[in-house]
Structures are given as C-alpha cells and as structure tokens.
Amino acid sequence: MKSAFERLYNGIIKENPTFVLMLGMCPTLAVTTSAFNGLGMGLSTMVVLALSNLLISALRKVIPDKVRIPAYIVIVASLVTVVGLLMEAYLPGMYASLGIYIDLIVVNCIILGRAESFASKNKMWPSLFDGIGMGLGFTLALTLIGMVREFFGSASIFGLTGPKVYGTTVPILLVELVNKVFNPASSSGVVRGLNEFFAGEFGSFSPIGILVMAPGAFFVLAILTAIQNAIKAAGEAKGKDMSKIQSGCSSDCLHCAESGCAKRLVEPEKVTKKADDETTKVVESKETENNGKGEE
C-alpha cells in the first residue's frame, strides 16, 4: 500500500507529466480551451493509462522485447476504443467537444512512456497506481490550464458564465465607485466628462478572446516553460538536483539527450562513442546471422 501512495505522489507532484516531464503537449495545448474539456481529457487519459499500465505489466513477460511497441499500441488502442465508445454513449457533449483528441490518446507519449519506463519493468499493483497517479497529475495540469484559459479567454470557470465571474459585476462595482467619487449630477463639465470616461472604461471590460484559440495555447505553454526554467534555475542555484525537470531547452547541448536537435552546437563524445559501439554491435550481429545462414 505504501508503494501505491508513493506512486500517486510521484505522478501528481514529483514527476507530473505536464508540468515536470513536459510530456503529452499536443492534448495539453489543443483541448484546454475550457476547464471541463481539460478535466474530461485528463480523466479519459487516466482511465486508459491505468488500465494499459495494468495490462502491460501483466503481460510484460509474455511480450517479446522486439515487438513491444506494436504490442503496447494494440493494448492502448483497444482501451482507447472502449473509452471512446463509452464516452460517445454516455457523455456525447464532451465527446463532441474533444473530437479527434480522444482517438489520439493512443499515441499519447505519456502512455507509451509509462509503459516503456515503468509498467514493463514492474509488478501489476505499483503499475496500476503509477498509471492512476500519472493520470491524476495529467488531469490536474489540464484542468488548471483549462481554468486559466477559460477564465481569461471566455470569462467563465467550469462553464459558469461571464457575469458571475468578471463579465459585469466587477465593472458595475467599479463604475458605481467612480460615480461616487465623481458626482454624476455635478454641474462641472470636467467632472461629468471624467465620470463618463471612467464608466466607459470599466464598463468595457471583456475577455481576451485569443486565449481560447490556438495562439493562446502557445502563450500558455511559453509561460509554463518560463516558470519551469525559473524554478529550475532557482533550484540549481541552491544546489539541488533539477535534472528531472524538463524544459524547452537548457542550452546545455553537451548533456542534452535530444541528439536530433537542429540547434545542436556540441556533439557529446560519450553519446557518439556509445552509438558507434551499438552500430558495430549491430553489424557484428548481422554478420553472425549471415554466417549462420551461410552455414545452413
């Protein structure tokens, strides 16, 4: 049981897939136009993730190593189909608003990532909770991002519409405050002008429409990455190990694992050496195979 809680904590906080690992950015950016969409996407991903982790962990000794990725995808795709059909039947509104992104859970890198790095190496019980924890972390992140975008972009939270949030109440209060300060019945033209001006200003508050559109997603991602980099820099200044926190780029090409990066300035010796070794190994193994065939 202790390991289960540890897994949940790990998924939600310590290795949060969105905020820390920066995985699954496609659904994160695409569906978080509202808090409900984020919640729905997160929960459906969580169900798939938990069950796929469970199944993959159960089958980890059966699946041959060479075809593990196709095997995982078959498992994940079946689960996604089940979730998609259930959603279409019981939550048609949510299904319509999430659209293609439900089917795209199949190729969500969080799911394949957890299958590869955790479920295929661990027992069923921790794998299940790893899936739930990661899924909850993902849900939390998507709901938070969705809430922010919904609040600023369409002046509502969880579908509670504008006026109740900030559409009119706050402006009305401000307008009345201004009216009190600058007496609207005053005979002075300047005072009345000021009153009209401020009432017009505060009355015209409206949400920033761009935030619920595609560019808004990139603004949010950029801010998120900036916050991560700030946390990382602050942590490193204190001497903590921050290697777990991923980010856009730390400009540290020497220790960067992304060998295909276009901006790469330095080719780390270690990696190339290792790669060379691997290629020679492959060549050798091929040669031995050929030899074997020849003998046959």
Binding site: E201, S204, F205, S206, I208, G209, I210
Partner: protein, 322 residues
C-alpha cells in the same frame, strides 16, 4: 608617422547616423498623420496615442529594470512602436485595450525576442492583430462623433459608392492615423528625402497591390471575363482601394521597418510583391474588408526565407569551377 602605425579592428568607416536619429526622424515623419488624426477625431484620439506611446516607453524601461540591464528607452524605438500602435487603433477604443496592446507589443513581440533588431515581426502590427483577434468588438468599431457607419473599405466591399477625394484628404472613418493619404505621404516623402526609407518596398507593394486589384478586384478583369461585372476597369474603385484602409501607412511606415524587412535588394522587391499579393487576397477574397496588417506580419514571418534565397554570394564564390 606615429599616427600611421595605429592598428584597429573594423569598422573603419563610421556613419554619423544613429539608431535614435532614425527613430526620431520616423516619429517626426509620423507627426502629420498624428496631428491630422487628432484634429479629425478629437481629444480622445490624442489621449489614445499618448497612452500607447507612454505605455510603450514605460514598459520598456521597467522591463529593462527587471532584467537588470541598461535601459534601451533612449534609442526611441519604443516611441515609434507606441506611436504606430496608437495610429492603428480606432479612435474610440477603451484606454485599457490601448495599454494592453502597448504592453503586448513591447514585452511579448519585442523584448522577449531580444529587443530592438531581434523581433521577428513588427511589434505594433503584432499587437494590433492580437487586439483584433481578442477584442474584435472594439477593434472593428470605427464609429465616432465625426463619422458613423462602415469605413470606406467596407463600403467598397459591399459595392457601394465612396467619395475618393475625401478618402485622399482623410475625411473618412478609420483608425486614428490611417485615414489621410496626404498626411502619410507627406511624412513618407520626408523620410525618403532623409534616406531613412526608400521606395523599393512601398513602391513594389503598392504597385503589386494595384495590379492585383485591377485583375481580380470588383470591376476587374477576372470578374469581367467571368461575366459578373460589366466593365473591365474602374478607376474610382482602384483609387479607393489604394487610398482606403491602412495601405499607405502600412506600406511606408510598417513594411519598411528595418528589423522585419529583408536586407537584400532583391529580397526587398520579392517582399513588396508578396505583401501586395497577400493584401489583395485578404481584401478581395477575405471575409473582412482590411488585410494590410495581416499581410505585413505574414510577410515578416517569411523574411528569413527570402533572405536565405537572395543572399548575395561572397567575392570569389559561386562561380563555375574549372
């Protein structure tokens, strides 16, 4: 003899023209359009222009303070950005939108990408498009005391008659600084005389746009050939398309922005042609009547590509090998 032995690294020839001189000359060149806008739309327009300019300068200064870097306000680029943004806003926009746009232009489009000379699109136009998408209700409402109803461009799009003389003079609705062709061209002539800008980009831009309109616009060749128009050339339509909207302001003051235009001459011609075609496409086939700002920021985005293909070859390179 002693003087001749000095060794220094290049550049050896220095121009006395500085960034701030160029920026202030642009500000000066924008003054006719600004004054005309204020004269036409009243004190509120003056307030908007002052607020965008002031906010831009203040934002840049504060951002530099936060970054603990020397303030870059003195080069005057923030003033140009703020002023251009102000001229690109409708005369009766709420002040908070103007402030918001100014902060967006300076922080997001300019300073986050590295400041002056590093921004990938024109900050004023980037902010304008951001505001148009975000606050469409306020950004497309050009009603004011002097003029109500749709802008001339919207009228043309509906096929209604417009007064071209008033459009050239500037006595029409529109954003604060775009209405008067005469005032804008006056400022542009000053810049051309100073050598700050040249006619390469504005010339090709306006010419390409005119050709596009003659061929594809209402009363153009294509509608004539397909039978949807009775005449194949309409001078009034062409002139009103040229004088209407932000074409002149965009062509002379924003397409020629040093940072976001191609450096190479060939590239500048390509850029101008591209802008002309894009503007024509947006105006003739797009849903909205105006397309200059989108055309220019889209053009800005392909500038690196244009420069890549028009890069001149260094001496001794690129010839045939023997």
């Amino acid at each position: 003899m002693k003087d001749m032995m000095q060794v220094s690294s290049n550049p050896h020839v220095r121009s006395r023209v500085t960034t701030s001189m160029i920026m202030y000359s642009v500000v000066f060149a924008l003054l006719p359009a600004t004054i005309f806008g204020i004269f036409q739309f009243g004190w509120y327009a003056a307030l908007i222009v002052a607020v965008t300019t002031g906010t831009a300068v203040l934002t840049e200064h504060l951002f530099c303070l936060i970054q603990k870097k020397p303030s870059t306000v003195k080069d005057g680029s923030a003033i140009v950005t703020g002023l251009l943004l102000g001229l690109n806003l409708p005369p009766h926009i709420p002040v908070w939108i103007a402030i918001f746009g100014s902060v967006f232009a300076i922080v997001v489009v300019k300073l986050l990408f590295g400041g002056l000379g590093q921004n990938f699109m024109n900050p004023a136009l980037g902010a304008r498009c951001f505001l148009v998408i975000s606050f469409a209700k306020y950004m497309t409402n050009f009603d004011c005391d002097a003029f109500t109803g749709p802008t001339p461009l919207a009228l043309i799009k509906d096929g209604q008659p417009v007064n071209v003389f008033n459009m050239v003079l500037g006595r029409t609705g529109g954003t604060i600084g775009e209405t008067s062709v005469i005032a804008i061209v006056l400022g542009a002539c000053f810049l051309i005389w100073l050598g700050v800008i040249d006619l390469r980009i504005p010339g090709t831009y306006i010419l390409t746009f005119a050709i596009f309109v003659v061929i594809f616009g209402n009363n153009g060749l294509v509608p004539y050939l397909t039978g949807s128009s009775s005449s194949f050339f309409n001078l009034t339509y062409l002139c009103s398309q040229l004088a209407g909207g932000g074409l002149m302001l965009g062509a002379f003051f924003m397409a020629t922005d040093y940072t976001t235009r191609p450096i190479t001459r060939k590239g500048q011609y390509i850029y101008g042609i591209l802008l002309g075609i894009l503007t024509g496409l947006f105006r003739v086939y797009g849903p909205s009547a105006e397309g200059v700002s989108y055309a220019i920021i889209l053009g800005n985005l392909v500038v690196p590509l244009i420069e890549k293909f028009t890069m001149p070859k260094a001496f001794g390179k690129g010839g045939e090998r023997r």
